[in-house]
């Protein structure tokens, strides 16, 4: 019996993850952006009821249809009960107040076309400028991707309390702003779209850069970021899609290498030593397709450049045949958008391939006192690797030892220690 229960709740969890965001979006449109939490409560309730019911009856043929119906009924009950307690700021608010129109109004809300558009509206609502960037990402994960607070805390390497605070603050900001549940029009659209893309990119990187690469949830973050970006590009009426296609291409290329980035002990494997046969060819093809679509418009964003760099890596037969010259040119372009120390660092690594180790080390030396770099582990590992190539194992070890001082993460520590061993053998 216990086994059946887990089985049922696994199935529900799977549904939950993929359908939660759709339902919350529809209900947020129904109740208005200021009642987002109410929408989440209704969906959660409906899912719980599903688990309770299906334990006895088994999962019905059309589980989502079942959950949609329960969610709709709960919505009707809440509106009837709280008629005068809540202010519904939505285009159907008027129809919710009438027993003749409430059900037809909700039925209309639950049609497939509305649901797709509502997820788009939800993304733009979560990325309202009244909400801080950190909270935007958390809110997007919570409302659109069906992530629980513990999962978000885990993904962000922070506490549940912290995430909860961010969510509470975000919802409060939306209420105070009297935010509308819509995709902005006119001059507001482009900056807001860029903000949405930035949030999706953060979401992706949160999954991609996390050091606990084994964790399934990290890959799910990446998948979700791709899924949400595809909602934008799938919308035929969307202008400025070039940046969205570029971001999608970038995410597909990077996600394609996900499995090859860590070994069985969760150690991070650098590009040079990755098993390229593990790269997901389907994602690479998708990435190339999206990259081609970006050329329909004459715009250039950071995403375009980063995606093209990634494309070079993904299509190189092996590490030795990487087209470093082209990649260096792309980094030169990137520097015009963003000349932050992180970009300088990555460019220097490419420079070491085209011009040699010495010029690369000179560049790295020039940024070593930058505050963002001083405790940035990849800076030390990159610089150490270059010194090692330059037959200066002693300096390489010194840099790694310095990095050890500020590294708390177990995986990173063991990575540094194993490199230290390699380097000191040559010393």
């Amino acid at each position: 019996m216990a086994e059946t229960k887990t089985h049922i709740s696994d199935q529900v969890n799977h549904l939950f993850r993929h359908e939660y965001g759709k339902l919350v979006s529809v209900l947020t449109k129904t109740f208005g952006a200021s009642n987002m939490e109410l929408a989440e409560d209704v969906v959660q309730d409906a899912m719980l009821e599903a688990i309770r019911q299906w334990e006895h009856t088994g999962v019905p043929e059309n589980p989502m249809g079942w959950i949609y119906k329960v969610a709709k009924n709960k919505a009707v009950n809440i509106v009837n009960r709280d008629q005068y307690k809540r202010e519904y700021m939505s285009e159907v608010a008027h129809h919710l107040q009438s027993e003749w129109t409430i059900e037809p109004a909700l039925d209309r809300m639950f049609t497939d076309k509305e649901i797709a558009d509502d997820q788009l509206r939800m993304m733009f609502t979560c990325c309202n400028p009244a909400v801080s960037k950190d909270s935007q990402v958390a809110l997007t994960l919570k409302t659109l991707c069906g992530f629980g607070i513990p999962e978000i805390a885990n993904a962000f390497l922070t506490t549940e309390e912290n995430i909860n605070k961010r969510l509470v603050r975000a919802r409060k900001n939306l209420r105070e702003e009297r935010a509308r549940f819509e995709v902005p029009v006119g001059s507001e659209l482009e900056p807001r779209l860029n903000s949405v893309l930035e949030t999706l990119y953060l979401l992706f990187n949160e999954g991609y850069n996390a050091t606990s690469g084994k964790d399934l949830i990290q890959y799910e973050l990446c998948e979700e970021a791709i899924r949400l970006a595809e909602i934008i590009t799938d919308n035929p009426s969307f202008p400025f899609a070039s940046n969205a296609y570029a971001l999608l291409a970038l995410m597909c290329f990077n996600a394609s290498r996900f499995k090859s980035r860590t070994d069985e002990f969760d150690n991070i494997i650098d590009l040079e030593n990755q098993d390229r046969s593990l790269w997901n060819q389907e994602l690479i093809q998708n990435g190339l397709h999206y990259l081609e679509l970006t050329t329909q418009e004459r715009t250039l964003s950071i995403y375009h450049i980063l995606a093209t760099i990634s494309a070079h890596h993904c299509t190189a037969k092996d590490f030795a045949s990487t087209d470093w010259e082209s990649i260096l040119q792309l980094y030169d372009h990137l520097m015009q958008f963003d000349s932050s120390p992180l970009v300088v660092l990555n460019r220097a690594i490419v420079l070491s391939k085209t011009e040699g180790v010495a010029p690369a080390l000179t560049v790295l030396k020039s940024i070593e006192n930058e505050p963002t770099i001083k405790t940035y582990l990849p800076f030390y590992t990159a610089m150490a690797a270059l010194h090692f190539l330059n037959n200066n194992a002693k300096e390489a070890c010194k840099l790694l030892e310095r990095a050890l001082e500020f590294t708390n993460q177990e995986q990173s520590k063991s990575m540094i220690i194993s490199r230290l061993e390699t380097y000191s053998k040559k010393d």
Binding site: H95, S98, T101, P104, D107
Partner: protein
């Protein structure tokens, strides 16, 4: 596009005499009718009225109560719609499935719109 008010009068509760199943079927038909109006963007609002209410006539100081009485015809609700013209509004009003279940009196009125405001 013009706006219209469709005022519906029936004698008492027109569904009261129907068996539960028929009532349910009827409610579904009404739902589909209203959903269709929403879909076409023609419905601005529709609400039923409570049986409770007041009616009086006369002028200032000399009001006379009534006639208002549940057994007589009362306005049971309204539909606020948009339509091209009165003909279309009448056609919409006549398509209401409530006529399938009994007699009703319907008044379709054109909402007067002030130019430059609406």
């Amino acid at each position: 596009m013009r706006e219209f008010m469709i005022l519906v009068r029936t004698e008492g509760d027109h569904l009261a005499g129907l068996p539960a199943e028929a009532q349910q079927a009827h409610v579904q038909k009404i739902g589909a009718y209203i959903g269709g109006l929403m879909e076409s963007g023609k419905l601005k609002g529709a609400q039923p009225f409570e049986q409770e209410g007041a009616s009086f006539q006369g002028g200032k100081g000399v009001f006379k109560d009534g006639p208002f009485n549940e057994s007589k015809e009362v306005i049971v609700g309204y539909f606020h719609i948009t339509a091209e013209n009165l003909e279309e509004a009448v056609a919409i009003a006549k398509a209401n499935p409530m006529f399938e279940e009994g007699q009703a009196t319907v008044e379709v009125r054109v909402v007067k719109q002030m130019e430059g405001i609406n």
